[in-house]
């Protein structure tokens, strides 16, 4: 058993995408990284090797909407925090029948029934006044600070966040 809301690894596996590729940035495969996020759910950042974020997912085993828990976390880890808008957070409940036989069995054993509720944060690339296209990146380098989200020009290789030391000249 897991505590209310927590998602056991067997259920996490059922949510994984097939062969995801970077969204509107490069054709590199995405890697889903589990990062420390708000309890009790599972926060996963899908980013390409260059750090460009395609989507961030937060899932809990609950029928309640966990958006209120995720929003302050994302704002605290995003520079500037105004990039995290409520309208970019989208909700989806996942029921057993759409997740395959194993998940259907696991979810079916719980009474009253609970779905897996996922909140997606997808920040679409946008244009600055000078025409530069900015897109979201994630920095995983700072263990103490946890994941850091920021925007940078889409064509930058692997940009650094504001907490990274400037490169030596």
């Amino acid at each position: 058993m897991t505590r209310t809301g927590a998602l056991p690894p067997r259920l996490r596996r059922t949510l994984a995408p097939h062969t995801p590729h970077c969204y509107r940035h490069c054709q590199q495969p995405l890697r889903g990284r589990t990062v420390n996020g708000p309890a009790p759910g599972w926060l996963c950042v899908y980013a390409c090797p260059g750090g460009a974020v395609s989507v961030v997912t937060y899932s809990e085993w609950t029928n309640d909407d966990p958006t209120a828990r995720l929003l302050p976390f994302l704002r605290a880890h995003t520079g500037p925090s105004t990039l995290v808008r409520r309208r970019d957070l989208r909700l989806a409940r996942r029921h057993g029948p759409e997740l395959g036989a194993e998940a259907e069995r696991i979810l079916g054993r719980v009474i009253p029934s609970r779905a897996i509720t996922t909140v997606y944060w997808r920040l679409y690339p946008f244009k600055r006044k000078d025409g530069t296209v900015l897109r979201p990146f994630a920095c995983f380098r700072h263990r103490r600070l946890g994941v850091q989200f920021f925007v940078a020009p889409g064509d930058s290789g692997a940009p650094r966040c504001s907490h990274c030391p400037a490169p030596k000249k």
Binding site: P17, H21, R90, R93, E98
Partner: protein, 115 residues
């Protein structure tokens, strides 16, 4: 015993999770359940209102909610949310449809409808 009455998909024609994937799979599911299929296009004002109402009351609501969303209406008035598209990628939504069509839930529903 309540029986399925109608399948509804809230969708948009420009969404690759919706057209053709969910329309095709929705037709297949409706055929198996022997119910009519209703498509609610969020880009058509008349259908958008009904779609918003359905999503707000029974679906996965958000200021800019995800599509497609699939609902099954039952003879006792219950509306069951079945599926919401996966934001990660279209093949993941395709897998969700495939799993739904071979689920134990569907087999049980068909048995119940025949009884």
């Amino acid at each position: 015993m309540p029986t399925p009455q109608r399948l509804t998909i809230v969708l948009a024609p420009w969404c690759p999770h919706c057209v053709p994937l969910s329309v095709t799979q929705g037709r297949r599911l409706a055929r198996r359940l022997r119910v009519p299929l209703r498509l609610l296009d969020i880009d058509r004002p008349a259908q958008e209102k009904a779609a918003d109402r359905l999503v707000r009351r029974y679906g996965d609501d958000a200021p800019d909610y995800l599509i497609p969303q699939v609902f099954l209406e039952w003879s006792d008035g219950r509306v069951q949310h079945l599926l919401t598209g996966f934001s990660e990628e279209v093949p993941r939504t395709a897998r969700a449809w495939a799993d739904l069509l071979r689920s134990a839930w569907l087999r049980a529903t068909l048995r119940g409808a025949r009884a």
